[in-house]
């Protein structure tokens, strides 16, 4: 297992290096330049030249790339061109928000999706099944931002049950250590802060979690339905094993492989939806920050964030492959 993980991590290096080079060239191919967007109306040729010089943008691309990598290796990710803050600083402020949101959404999707899909498969053709199947189809085709708007309209504006924006009520004095607000509240025992952050998470998480939920339900249902038809399940049932043991040892174990793949895939895809969800709920994550970084041609921010997102994506894939081994001894790493 360890050798497998190490090999996969080693394979990750060329992909990340490749991505960093492509990103580097790609970003600099964007029309418009950071100096101009920084100075705006006041841009003079001298001012632009001065900024380009101080950030090293006047150097040849190869030189720029190597000094960038050199700085990276010493842990220096540079500073944002837009607000001048170190990339690392804003990163630890905003990334936890997006991760918290993404994790809650995925948790919701898995915790509800797998049992629902399983139940639907067990009751194929009956009312419950029809209900679950049509519901999940609706979930797949509803755009995230539309669902987010609807949820906000109904549960925040009309019913006034839940907050419509932000991550926490600004009137609450909360200590932030990790910037995962719920976690912070629990760590500092500020229960009301934790609870408030949790309440603020509900609508965005439901909005973001619905598509993965729908997809997980569908895959689980299909996969369980297929396994239920297998001879070994019939054998297990006919030799008198209880239904619970058959489901746990035979059905779920075999049916869960494609489900785990799907969960991993959805975790990776969550990011696009997170940007849209954060926009609707003014959830101060990386979505909006990245978005303004693109229009401001903020190279350091874009480079660091996109690389990190790709790294997370790759690690999720690795985790998925490792889970295979746990579920299915046949794929236990060769």
């Amino acid at each position: 297992m360890l050798r497998f993980v190490l090999r996969r991590l080693a394979l990750l290096v060329p992909v990340l290096v490749g991505l960093s080079i492509l990103l580097f060239i790609w970003l600099r191919a964007l029309p418009g330049d950071p100096a101009r967007s920084m100075l705006g109306q006041r841009a003079t040729p001298e001012g632009i030249a001065r900024i380009n010089e101080s950030y090293g943008f006047d150097q040849p691309l190869v030189t720029q790339y190597f000094s960038y990598v050199k700085a990276l290796l010493t842990g220096d990710f540079g500073s944002s061109i837009q607000d001048g803050r170190p990339v690392v600083e804003t990163f630890f402020e905003k990334f936890p928000a997006t991760l918290e949101l993404g994790f809650s959404a995925l948790l919701l999707a898995v915790v509800l999706g797998v049992p629902l899909g399983y139940l639907a498969a067990r009751h194929q053709g009956r009312t419950l099944d029809t209900f679950v199947v049509s519901g999940s189809l609706l979930g797949v085709v509803t755009p995230v931002f539309f669902l987010a708007i609807l949820l906000k309209l109904v549960f925040a504006d009309w019913l006034n049950w839940l907050p419509s924006s932000l991550r926490q009520d600004p009137r609450i004095e909360a200590t932030h250590i990790t910037n995962f607000y719920v976690l912070d509240g629990l760590m500092t025992r500020e229960w009301d802060a934790a609870f408030d952050a949790l309440v603020h998470l509900i609508l965005p998480a439901v909005a973001l979690g619905t598509i993965p939920l729908a997809i997980i339900v569908r895959i689980t249902r299909a996969s369980v339905a297929e396994v239920l038809n297998e001879d070994y399940v019939r054998t297990a049932e006919s030799k008198g094993l209880s239904r619970r043991i058959v489901s746990r040892r035979h059905v779920l174990r075999n049916a869960l492989l494609p489900v785990v793949t799907t969960i991993g895939l959805q975790a990776g895809l969550l990011f696009s939806g997170a940007v849209l969800t954060e926009t609707v709920f003014a959830f101060n994550g990386i979505g909006e920050y990245l978005f303004t970084a693109i229009s401001g041609r903020d190279y350091p921010v874009l480079q660091a964030y996109i690389l990190f997102i790709a790294l997370i994506y790759a690690l999720i894939n690795l985790l998925v492959d490792m889970t295979y081994g746990v579920i299915d001894p046949r794929v236990r790493v060769s």
Partner: protein, 308 residues
């Protein structure tokens, strides 16, 4: 155990499906299965209605899209609802809401089809190249595809839109680019699996050149899964067009109605006029539903394993 009696002519052979027994082709069989599948019919009807509306939109409404002709009737708190002249009322800029919705179908169709076509063309080319040539070409192409996959699709689309500026082509290319890896993987996969199949071995044993094998045998056999994927991608593309608009990177010409932009504009009018958001949102969802149903029904119909 006595030998089984030979199957009589009257009794169907359990090992051969009725389709095969009659010698029905893949496509005809698929068509017959589609016709019997109610969800396929529903999907096809939605898609058909969407296409027809998109094409004949100008005939269905006397008004022009984006003409803020009645903007005087819109107040900061209220947008006029249904009336004799405006079946669904106005939008917040004072255009006829129904007209905006109908013409929005046109934008979605054009953008959806164009971006899927771009994704399909480039993706299929890369996939065939990788799967057909193998070796270092394969490694290189697939690494590039991996890298593309590791960047979230919306981010990819946003950055393409940022490079190419805010025009129709940029939007199509941006959304098409996000589909390239999907098609590249699909085509490469089917090239590889069919490259090992008996008929390809037979063809190459006969001395037929590689290019002809690819063009004449492998590609035609990949058409089915490609059509399925393209249909499903159309649903995603239509949603992504709206998502780009939602982020302010989509269609910017007010004369072209677009569902995503209608949603954004409706956001601050929710409390009093929810229909402004509900209708375009529902339009996007229903259209995506149509393509998804049709695509999944096609997949089932073309999959030999699902034949009964």
């Amino acid at each position: 155990m006595p030998p089984a009696p030979p199957p009589s002519a009257a009794e169907p052979d359990p090992f051969i499906s009725p389709d095969e027994a009659k010698g029905v082709s893949l496509w005809r069989g698929a068509w017959q299965r589609l016709r019997r599948n109610p969800t396929a019919i529903l999907g096809a009807l939605i898609v058909l209605a969407f296409i027809v509306i998109a094409i004949v939109a100008p005939l269905l409404t006397p008004y022009e899209p984006g003409s803020a002709e009645w903007s005087g009737e819109v107040t900061p708190t209220d947008v006029p609802g249904p009336s004799d002249n405006h079946v669904l009322g106005l939008d917040r800029f004072g255009s006829d809401l129904l007209t905006q919705l109908l013409f929005g179908a046109r934008q979605s169709l054009v953008y959806g089809v164009a971006s899927t076509a771009i994704g399909l063309t480039i993706g299929a080319f890369l996939g065939v190249l990788a799967g057909g040539l193998g070796g270092w070409v394969d490694t290189f192409v697939m690494r590039v595809v991996d890298i593309m996959l590791s960047v979230p699709s919306l981010l990819l689309a946003v950055s393409v839109a940022a490079v190419l500026g805010q025009n129709a082509y940029a939007i199509m290319i941006a959304i098409g680019a996000a589909q390239v890896p999907i098609f590249a993987r699909l085509l490469r996969g089917s090239m590889l699996s069919q490259g090992r199949s008996d008929y390809v071995l037979a063809a190459s044993a006969l001395g037929i050149r590689r290019r002809r094998i690819v063009m004449g045998h492998v590609l035609p056999n990949s058409v089915g899964p490609t059509i399925v994927q393209a249909t499903l991608n159309l649903a995603t593309a239509i949603i992504e067009v709206a998502a780009l608009s939602f982020l302010g990177l989509g269609e910017s010409d007010p004369a072209n109605a677009e569902w995503g932009r209608m949603l954004v504009a409706a956001q601050d009018r929710f409390e009093n006029d929810p229909q402004l958001a509900l209708l375009p949102g529902a339009a996007i969802a229903i259209t995506a539903l149509g393509f998804t149903l049709l695509g999944e029904a096609l997949r089932e119909a073309l999959d030999p394993r699902s034949r009964r």
